[in-house]
């Protein structure tokens, strides 16, 4: 227990350093970008004086250090500033769109894990057979296909040609779907949600699935060659037990690590997938803000994603060290 507290404290300290770096980097982005936010906020026909006034109001004429400190203190207090384009708090907007992206990312993650790990194990234990080669080729295709193109192809085949699933949009969230089910006994909300989820999930999760498949397969193959697996056979342990207790455990370490690292990749990938499916998530918000040069909004998104990444990684390390006691905590 003490070890665990120590681990989390020390990793959080490191994480705070990284998060501070993230905030600084994000601040620098805005600072060096050539656009003048005052002009964005001001009406098109605004006078120079008005622009000046807005600049002063935004604190853009303060020395950089003061701007930095005030931004930093704002972020620490949970205040991500106001959007240049809508003049509403950034935090509220992000909270509003975050569930859409998280739903998508987690669905893709679950899809990838559920398909890839069993497939990886089967492929490794049937090395050199047809199953193995087919799985390998599929995974090669999976890592080589850009997700936006896959998304379009899915729409083309399943929505346009077969007319099975809706092409785009997210008319209802998971939370609301559940609420409808509970309070109105109406499953319609959930099915609508599900039908809109399927294509984006596959589009986003395929690359990840292929990647995890390769890792699992390699990991299991590597473990199978270890001497302790031989020793386990030597002491007469039954095969399923060896697979589960000896082989799978250690081969999952890289899988867990990459899963953690790639959560960021999933969010990044959702930028494009959201664009294809008109999914109202963080990615779309980011692109819209980018087109409008709405820096506070972009900064907010980047900070949220970065912090999420750092926190996930701490947990990934924790899971890994409990899977593998040789990796000492702290």
């Amino acid at each position: 227990m003490r070890e665990e507290v120590q681990f989390f404290v020390s990793r959080s300290l490191q994480g705070i350093v990284v998060i501070w770096g993230i905030i600084t980097a994000v601040f620098m982005f805005r600072f060096i970008s050539p656009t003048n936010p005052a002009r964005l906020i001001a009406p098109d026909d605004a006078s120079e004086e008005l622009v000046r006034a807005i600049e002063i109001d935004l604190g853009l004429n303060d020395p950089i250090l003061i701007q930095y400190v005030s931004y930093l203190t704002g972020v620490v207090q949970g205040d991500l500033g106001f959007s240049y384009s809508t003049n509403t708090p950034v935090r509220g907007r992000i909270i509003q769109v975050l569930p859409a992206t998280l739903e998508l990312a987690f669905a893709a993650l679950i899809f990838a894990v559920i398909v890839s790990i069993p497939l990886g194990i089967i492929s490794a234990t049937h090395r050199g057979t047809k199953i193995d080669s087919v799985a390998n080729l599929t995974s090669l295709g999976g890592v080589s296909t850009p997700n936006f193109w896959l998304a379009i192809m899915l729409v083309l085949l399943i929505s346009v040609q077969l007319g099975l699933l809706p092409t785009s949009g997210r008319p209802i969230g998971l939370g609301e779907g559940i609420r409808m089910l509970i309070f109105q006994a109406n499953i319609g909300g959930l099915t609508t949600w599900l039908s809109h989820m399927i294509l984006p999930t596959i589009a986003l999760g395929t690359y990840f699935m292929a990647l995890l498949f390769r890792l699992t397969r390699n990991g299991v193959l590597e473990e199978l060659g270890k001497e302790y697996v031989l020793a386990a056979r030597g002491k007469g342990l039954p095969n399923p037990l060896i697979m589960y207790r000896y082989v799978l455990r250690n081969s999952l370490t890289p899988v867990v690590t990459v899963t953690g690292l790639q959560l960021g990749g999933l969010i990044g990938g959702s930028v494009v997938v959201e664009a294809v499916f008109a999914w109202p998530g963080i990615g779309r918000l980011f692109i819209t803000s980018l087109n409008l040069s709405d820096w506070p909004m972009m900064q907010g998104v980047l900070i949220i994603v970065g912090v999420g990444y750092v926190v996930t990684n701490i947990f990934v390390d924790y899971i890994n060290s409990s899977l593998n006691p040789q990796v000492e905590l702290a």
Binding site: Q6, V9, S10, L13, Q14, A330
Partner: protein
């Protein structure tokens, strides 16, 4: 603290012994290397949390106050088990590590300073041959490039001359020159070790440090390398510092032998003396544990199979946790038979290391199917696990022990330890054994030696 003790001891005894003192003028021309009170501690990196709690990093006392010298043309064998600091010693002498304390003088000059000011010049005087033949050669270079590397770095002569020299060296170590364009991976372990030796010889050094050069090799190949080393020593008039854990190899090559245990020298003497009349119990055990084709392993053995970590070495004599002849308490209150004493001493060590407490004792009792876990039962179980007889032959000792056991059975480990702290204290625990002169060139650090 400990270091100072040893220093004063070594200077005190310098009248009667030839353990070198720290004065530089005394150096005679015969001495090539002189090591004075050398200490090398490693520190773990301080993490953020250590820094936040201002905790001091743990020190690993790899080499802790070692003094000796190597004469020109002689082979000093260093023997010891893993963790005794023999490799660190070699690397510190080579100037690869800065000593934490003490000095290494090479031909009268401080190595640490020499290395700082002119690494290259020092490199021409001392070279090292490594243990692992698979890691000591760069796999990307051909044998020619490997052996030529020192010549290239030091720009010895023009290029054609260097190539000639490489061929000469390769032939000297017993390889054919047509192998020069091969890569290390194409060679066997013994051949790689020969290349390692050729490379070390390239700069014509005076001292060769041999860090377990044969321990990864097969016996038939080991014999080849040992003979090669012997031949080139004569030919090039080299001094060797020969490190090994294998006593038979040490005896074959060394003029003098130094036995190390947990960073300290326990005994140093001419080869025959160490092997015929070892003074230190550790040396004796090493000798009796080394199996050979003629002698079976028999005789004395260590009490405890675990070598303590140099991170936290035992106080006093570092060998006391494993020594089969730990000196009994000298306070005349109690008297022991040696067997009983060792059992009681074991009990004390276990108690101190926290390996006996009530929880564990209860489990122990349960495991032995004694369902009633009363005091007597616990006491009996403890006696049994530590091998202490039901009653000690000395009645005072029995009383003291019984008090301690009762306290332990009540769950009070501290009192249990206090009870026996004074009466059952071996001098080996409290006192750092001084280096004793036994005969010409024979020194040993054991309290028994003093007593005899």
């Amino acid at each position: 603290m400990e270091v100072q003790v040893l220093m004063s001891e070594s200077t005190n005894s310098s009248r009667s012994t030839d353990i070198p003192s720290t004065t530089i003028e005394e150096i005679d021309l015969d001495t090539l290397v002189r090591v004075d009170n050398l200490c090398k501690y490693y520190e773990d990196d301080r993490g953020l949390i250590d820094w936040a709690l201002s905790r001091d990093p743990e020190k690993v006392r790899a080499v802790d106050g070692v003094s000796f010298e190597i004469k020109r043309g002689e082979t000093l064998g260093v023997v010891g088990e893993s963790g005794c600091g023999k490799s660190t010693l070699a690397r510190t002498i080579m100037g690869l590590h800065q000593p934490t304390e003490g000095t290494v003088l090479f031909a009268g000059k401080n190595v640490a300073e020499q290395v700082k000011s002119d690494r290259k010049r020092f490199a021409r005087r001392a070279q090292i041959v490594f243990q692992d033949p698979s890691s000591c050669l760069d796999p990307r270079l051909t044998l020619r490039e490997i052996v030529r590397e020192p010549l290239d770095i030091h720009k010895v002569g023009p290029k054609p001359h260097r190539n000639e020299r490489v061929e000469e060296l390769i032939e000297r170590v017993g390889l054919a020159t047509d192998q020069l364009d091969r890569y290390p991976s194409e060679l066997s372990g013994g051949q790689r070790q020969r290349i390692g030796i050729a490379r070390a010889l390239a700069l014509d050094p005076e001292l060769l440090l041999l860090d377990e050069p044969t321990s990864a090799l097969d016996v038939s190949v080991q014999a080849q390398i040992l003979n090669l080393l012997q031949e080139i020593q004569e030919e090039y008039n080299l001094s060797y510092l020969f490190i090994s854990h294998d006593l038979s190899v040490i005896r074959y090559l060394s003029d003098r032998v130094m036995v190390m245990y947990l960073g300290k020298i326990v005994e140093i003497a001419p080869s025959e003396v160490i092997f015929e009349e070892p003074a230190h119990p550790y040396t004796e055990i090493l000798l009796s544990s080394t199996p050979s084709k003629k002698a079976n392993i028999d005789g004395k053995q260590v009490r405890n199979a675990d070598i303590p970590s140099p991170r936290n070495p035992p106080r006093g004599c570092r060998f006391h946790t494993r020594c089969p002849v730990v000196v009994p308490p000298d306070n005349h209150n109690v008297e022991f038979e040696q067997d009983e004493w060792l059992a009681v001493f074991d009990y004390k060590l276990r108690l101190r290391s926290g390996r006996l407490d009530t929880n564990k004792l209860t489990e122990l009792v349960e495991l032995q199917d004694n369902k009633t876990e009363n005091q007597t039962n616990i006491k009996e179980v403890v006696r049994e696990t530590c091998g202490i007889p039901q009653t000690l032959s000395d009645s005072t000792a029995e009383e003291v022990l019984d008090d301690s056991l009762s306290a332990l059975a009540d769950g009070d480990t501290e009192t249990a330890l206090e009870c026996i702290a004074v009466d059952f204290e071996s001098p080996c625990e409290k006192q750092n054994p001084p280096v004793m002169h036994i005969s010409e060139g024979h020194h040993s650090a054991c309290l028994r030696t003093e007593n005899e």
